[in-house]
Subunit: 622 residues, 2 copies
């Protein structure tokens, strides 16, 4: 990175930097500054070298520099970067405790500190530097700067050097005139506006009529008009809200146009009709953006109950639906039919328990409620309703058939999953063996370089290996930017389980992980089914299920360390040994690094955690 | 592992093994066998070399060997171990597809195959080998062997060589006489018993009276007595159950003594009084072992409702409690007081929603139900009940105070967690820097060996590093044998957060992970609180909470890659470079391997996965 011929210059600069650091440590800012300016060393170093010392001695700095131009130069060169870490890293000193932990930005901190010093020492002398310190802030405080200039003129201090005219000129040198004009308009101070406008190249025929129209307006409406002109819509809303009810339509339109509902709501008391109007408009807006639940809440809180009901129905917020329907004084019949329709939607979303509650409590259809609970495998809750409503007939007609059916389905499901699992696992070991052989073959080919070859001479071998694994890291890095769920979906499409596909092993691990997660998640469900099987005397079926599930879980547990191999155990042995050279070690090390970073990138290569803590077994079935 | 002087012998043996393999491949079993016997090569190789070929040609094997003694020798030497993998690994051939995937054990497979062949070829000639093949099975089939001997005698084939006497003698040579006596007793065949007893050293005065008592018994009771004598309790139960109701007390006592409830239940029809008695005893047994839920199920299914209720109350199975109480025809008052008492227990277990259901539906105490829902932060369900029972007064008295309180608590909690998180994170980087410096110092010390030193000459350096990391891997391997939850607890105790403690970095990562998991889990809870805050117009509070939580989650997200550093990025740079030697690379590589395996062992070093898929934010608050 440093051209070889320049070593002497660099050597020189290192000495210079050391000298500058000494100066700065001994607070000899003037010397440091002169030297840095001459040798074009970035002035940020003055602060970055030791922020705390600089800030503690900022008065000394200003006094020593004692030049408006130099201070302007320093302020202008400020940037967020810490040059002790980037341009002038120091190897000797330990890094001083930085002030960056505070949220304030460096530029703002320095500008404010220096302005403070200048205002204390001689605000008139440093006037231009003070302006610079406002303009340089990360969010330039142009209005304050303008105000300062305006004050200067107002005080009639024209005899003081520099006069306000000069100051304004300087400000226009720092800031674009149109920007400054807008900012002056934003102070709502027409004197200031005209002062800036006069200095600009603007045509008075353009700005004077506009200013005259504004002058004629009521104060709040005037400010609103200026704010709107400057696209400061939030401020505009504030001023417009003070203009009385005759402007409320204009207000509401601005709110809708600029999507400023939350700001608008703050401007009116909660009970007012204006508040309700804004709120309603907000609800409509959210509804149109398919934010049904939020729209429902917004409608509900200002009493737009019909709209709220519609919104809550759209997102199946069943509890809220019931609240609203109750507030709308729905008749029993109407409530029952609403409950039935919502229950239907909930069943589609596999929310059987909630659907059953609706049917039980709002439609009084106990039988249907119980059947829904059975459909959703909520065995105990179904039994509770059966006994609550004395519908013991359902035990024979539905419960027993449902639980034996569930047992059979579980057995079939576990069996098919286990078969797939075993097949994928077997195939994975075959694929891995093939890949390992291919890898060893590759290494052997590169051995002939021999033990005498220089460490870095054969860089091509390193290239080869990193190229080889390039497709892995590439595909995985693209994936990692998505959410985990999408990622898994995306990978399922991308990695093919077809035999011989290049990422077959990855696809197999994915598929195996999917099975592990699915089966592991069934613990509670199996436990609940086992209990109800025992309750109705289906001990054989229960025992069969417990055995099958237990064996599958055990199979998974012993398989995990074979499928998700700890990284450092894979493929290290053949590489180190009496025949290996520095070069061969390097090569294989690089290769492993690549493999590892690939695996690190992806959550594929960490074994799923099993919920071993969940007690699902019934000891009585063992 | 092989002493240097023996190279020639080993060389010889390798040649011999190659020859044996050739013989086996060409089915020349006889040659192979003779050679192996002479050179004391383990005979298992005959099978292990290629199990499929052996099993397909087992007839040829028996024909070629053609010796009872040799076959006995072969059978006796069988063991589960695959000697091609342990004693005689072959480097040239690819491992033949093994048959080990089937669950049957090798010894059993070989015994059965050879017996099959012998019985086909000449059962009389190979009689003793056939006996051996029964005895050698992993679960010796002594009864069948005895039966064979007995048959031989029964057939009067005494003239055949070997006579049954010889056969029995041979059997007694293979098996302990007392064991054989018990087995003979187990056949319930007194001829057989006496035959064995006569050959044994047993005193006829001992066994004859016992046998005579047995002879006088009813057949089932006789078998029961024998079974019990042989401690074969399951069989004993089966026989005893056939002895009629007068023996049922004896039966039940045996069941209780031997804890054979499930076996006993199978012996009686479900509706019978015996079934109910066993079932009841089973329930008592489970209850006494604090398996309350299972006891409840067992009591419930045979109608011991009072006992079932007691058991379900003991484990707070609230739905089952209600089912049983309903079956017991509880009055409304009794039901209400039961519901209140169970609800109290559920609240203790933080199951507010279920407790509220009990109070609402079984005690008709709507107000208390709503208050419980608020206490458990089930805002929407609380609102549903408020509207269902027209208790809108509770909105002002309880709901609003509860949600603003909840918002405050969340803010305080998030703030304290964030502070702790930032402090731990900062400290972690300090500790890591210190450790990294210590590590580099260690490496520098080992450099002097110089670039010319041989690759393996300085093994001490490798030792040092692995010793250094010994305490890490040790502590972690001990941990990994426990369940994840216990482990975390155990580590919390083991790893001290105290500054300067040796595993402070591990403790910090643990503590940080704990915070990440806790905060990440709050998404749904925060979302639900935000919605109800908006519903009641507490937009400011909602916005404040959303902002605080959002910022914390973002802070966590950017911090994760700093706390859980991908393995291959850590500490590699200083090791490879123009000054590194094969030796230095090796050393640092070994060291990294150790670090890595430590990190691999523990789930501490994988970053917690964030539930980014959970949509918790309300856009309207942004």
């Amino acid at each position: 990175q440093m051209p070889r011929g320049n070593l002497e210059t660099i050597h020189h600069r290192a000495l210079v930097l050391a000298q500058i650091r000494k100066w700065l440590d001994s607070l000899q800012f003037k010397g440091a500054f002169e030297c840095m300016r001459k040798l074009r060393i970035n002035l940020n170093l003055i602060y970055d070298h030791n922020p705390k010392v600089f800030l503690d001695n900022v008065d000394t700095f200003v006094k020593q520099i004692d030049s408006v131009n130099y201070i302007n130069l320093f302020l202008t060169e400020l940037k967020e970067e810490d040059v002790t870490k980037t341009m002038y890293p120091s190897h000797t000193a330990t890094p001083s405790p930085s002030l960056q932990t505070s949220t304030a930005k460096k530029i703002d901190v320095v500008c404010d500190a220096i302005r403070g010093a200048m205002e204390k020492l001689n605000p008139q002398k440093y006037f231009l530097s003070i302006l610079t310190s406002y303009v340089r802030k990360t969010t330039p405080e142009l209005e304050t700067a303008l105000q300062k200039v305006h004050e200067l003129r107002g005080k009639g201090l024209n005899f003081v050097n520099p006069p306000s005219k000069e100051a304004l000129k300087y400000l226009l040198f720092l800031v674009d005139v149109n920007e400054l004009y807008d900012y002056s308009l934003g102070t709502y101070d027409f004197d200031l506006v005209i002062m800036v406008a006069e200095k600009s190249q603007k045509d008075p025929k353009e700005y004077l009529p506009f200013l005259n129209t504004l002058r004629k307006m009521e104060s709040n409406y005037q400010r609103y008009t200026i704010d709107k002109h400057l696209k400061r819509y939030k401020k505009a809303l504030g001023h417009l809200s003070k203009c009385g009810p005759e402007h409320f339509v204009e207000f509401l339109n601005l709110v809708k146009d600029q999507n400023l509902y939350t700001e608008a709501l703050k401007l009116y008391p909660v009970g007012s009709t204006e508040y309700k109007s804004i709120n309603d408009a907000y609800g409509d807006h959210l509804y149109s953006k398919h934010q049904y639940e939020q729209a429902g809440l917004i409608f509900a809180r200002c009493g737009s109950l019909e709209k709220a009901l519609e919104a809550f129905v759209a997102c199946s917020s069943w509890q809220q639906i019931l609240c609203i329907a109750s507030q709308l004084q729905y008749s029993e019949d109407k409530m029952a039919s609403l409950a039935r329709s919502v229950a239907g939607k909930l069943v589609e979303k596999r929310m059987h328990e909630n659907a059953a509650l609706l049917l039980e409590q709002y439609a009084e259809d106990y039988e249907e409620a119980i059947l829904l609970l059975l459909e959703g495998s909520f065995w105990e809750e179904a039994l509770r309703l059966i006994h609550k409503y004395k519908r013991l007939d359902i035990l024979e007609t539905n419960v027993k058939p449902a639980i034996t059916e569930a047992q059979k389905n579980h057995m079939i499901f576990l069996d098919s999953q286990k078969t797939t699992f075993a097949r994928h696992k077997q195939r994975l070991s075959v694929v891995r063996e093939l890949k390992e052989k291919a890898r060893q073959g590759l290494l052997d080919d590169e051995m002939p370089g021999g033990p005498e070859s220089d460490l870095f001479s054969d860089t091509s071998s390193i290239m080869t290996t990193s190229e080889m694994s390039g497709k892995y890291s590439h595909s995985n890095s693209r994936i990692s930017s998505r959410t985990s769920k999408n990622r898994r979906k995306a990978e399922r499409k991308k990695h093919s389980l077809k035999e011989g596909s290049p990422l077959e092993d990855v696809a197999l691990v994915e598929a195996l992980g999917e099975i592990v997660r699915t089966v592991d998640k069934m613990r509670t469900e199996v436990n609940s089914l086992l209990k109800v099987l025992v309750l109705f005397g289906y001990d054989t079926e229960a025992r069969q299920l417990q055995k099958a599930y237990h064996e599958f879980l055990q199979f998974i547990e012993v398989s995990i360390s074979e499928i998700w191999i700890p990284l450092d155990q894979s493929n290290t042995t053949p590489v180190l040994g009496p025949h290996s050279t520095a070069n061969s070690i390097m090569t294989s090390y690089q290769q492993q690094k690549n493999i590892k970073s690939t695996e690190q990138d992806s959550e594929l290569f960490t074994a799923p955690k099993l919920c071993k803590a969940t007690q699902w077994k019934l000891e009585l079935l063992d």
